[in-house]
Symmetry: C2
Subunit: 224 residues, 2 copies
């Protein structure tokens, strides 16, 4: 068995019938046309479905919105990167020398994309049930330790709900300043409610508002 | 066979083992807890995967980005609404009297969501292969008449590529005017390139820019 075959058995709990599919899934676009980008497209679709199915089964009490938030937290780049690290994926990324020497094999987006491509490769190699088992294997800990959907709400929503629960006025957001050229703007936004105000910056108005809301929520909760 | 059973056989090419799943898939949230929202979550995931798989098979020449654009055009609300109309779905929506009398059963989002919920119900009822066949059945015409991925690019991208192909300067976008209150703003944006300029309005800067770009591209193509 090849080193890659042993790695696949150990970390994916799956043996490829056609090992070249696994090689392609690990191949960054810097190595040429036989790269993992189309497999990533397929794997992304399968991962979304497989997680949706597990959450549908595991969480009969949750609404569609809660299921969507949970899924988004499981399939985002940060989760995929953490999974890639846990299966030592960076050691097996097939990448050009130039990309590797600039740290590409450990870059979050490259290894996160490769996780999705591997799932796509398993789907092609072993079919739906095999791919489902690999996803469940990779996500075992996360599916056994799901966060509360409320904790996944964005800060503006949480702030609004906190204020509504106390029957007080909703927050006001004001863009105080916009700096920088058209494609590199920095927004400064203030958020005020309950006589308190916070201010935050972001590369978009939305990001700045979320940060200001989170700061204000921290203050209000602390004061309570 | 019930009327709903006949409809399902005729338009979905599928007979439910458990017809109550189909009823739930058709039930708008206005009728209570046994509604179609969770099934829609599941069906949305399956639809995305099934279309990804078909495009992966049908279009070996397309990049991940082209596949993504094609998929987005097939699973968006407008496509789902058109499919819902083609299978006369509005006649079978289960909805409160109040919602129905306000035209709810024909509202685009309600019937589009129900299409996804039906796909989720087939997945639960008949499994992966059955759901795959229903998606292929509903999308038969669209999958046989795929647009060109280039035609699906947004207007700003198409304008940029048009200008780059002719080696001329990229367009400039300028926000000329912002009117209205914070949550109901109207942006007026101008777009200029090649000595021509257009102006358009939108509820977001991005929307206004896209419209102005489309107008300018029409002018430039016409002049060429």
């Amino acid at each position: 068995m090849t080193a890659l075959g042993r790695w696949s058995s150990q970390y994916l709990n799956y043996s490829f019938g056609n090992p070249s599919l696994l090689e392609q899934a690990l191949s960054h676009r810097s190595v040429g046309d036989a790269n993992n980008e189309r497999l990533e497209f397929l794997g992304d679709g399968f991962l979304n479905l497989a997680i949706a199915q597990r959450l549908y089964e595991l969480c009969p009490q949750y609404s569609e919105g809660e299921l969507s938030r949970l899924r988004a937290s499981l399939v985002n780049g940060a989760s995929l990167k953490a999974i890639a690290v846990s299966i030592q994926l960076d050691q097996h990324i097939i990448i050009s020398k130039a990309e590797r020497s600039s740290g590409g094999a450990r870059r979050a987006s490259i290894i996160a994309n490769a996780v999705e491509a591997i799932i796509g490769a398993v789907l092609l190699d072993g079919g739906y049930e095999a791919a489902r088992q690999v996803v469940n294997h990779l996500y075992l800990d996360r599916l056994n330790n799901l966060p509360s959907p409320d904790d996944l709400k964005d800060a503006k929503t949480r702030l609004q709900e906190w204020l509504q629960a106390r029957g007080v006025d909703l927050p006001e957001y004001t863009v105080e300043h916009v700096a920088g050229a058209d494609h590199a703007q920095t927004f400064t936004v203030s958020c005020s409610a309950e006589g308190q105000a916070t201010r935050a910056e972001g590369r978009s108005r939305r990001t700045a508002e979320q940060r200001a809301a989170r700061l204000l929520l921290d203050i209000l909760r602390h004061d309570e």
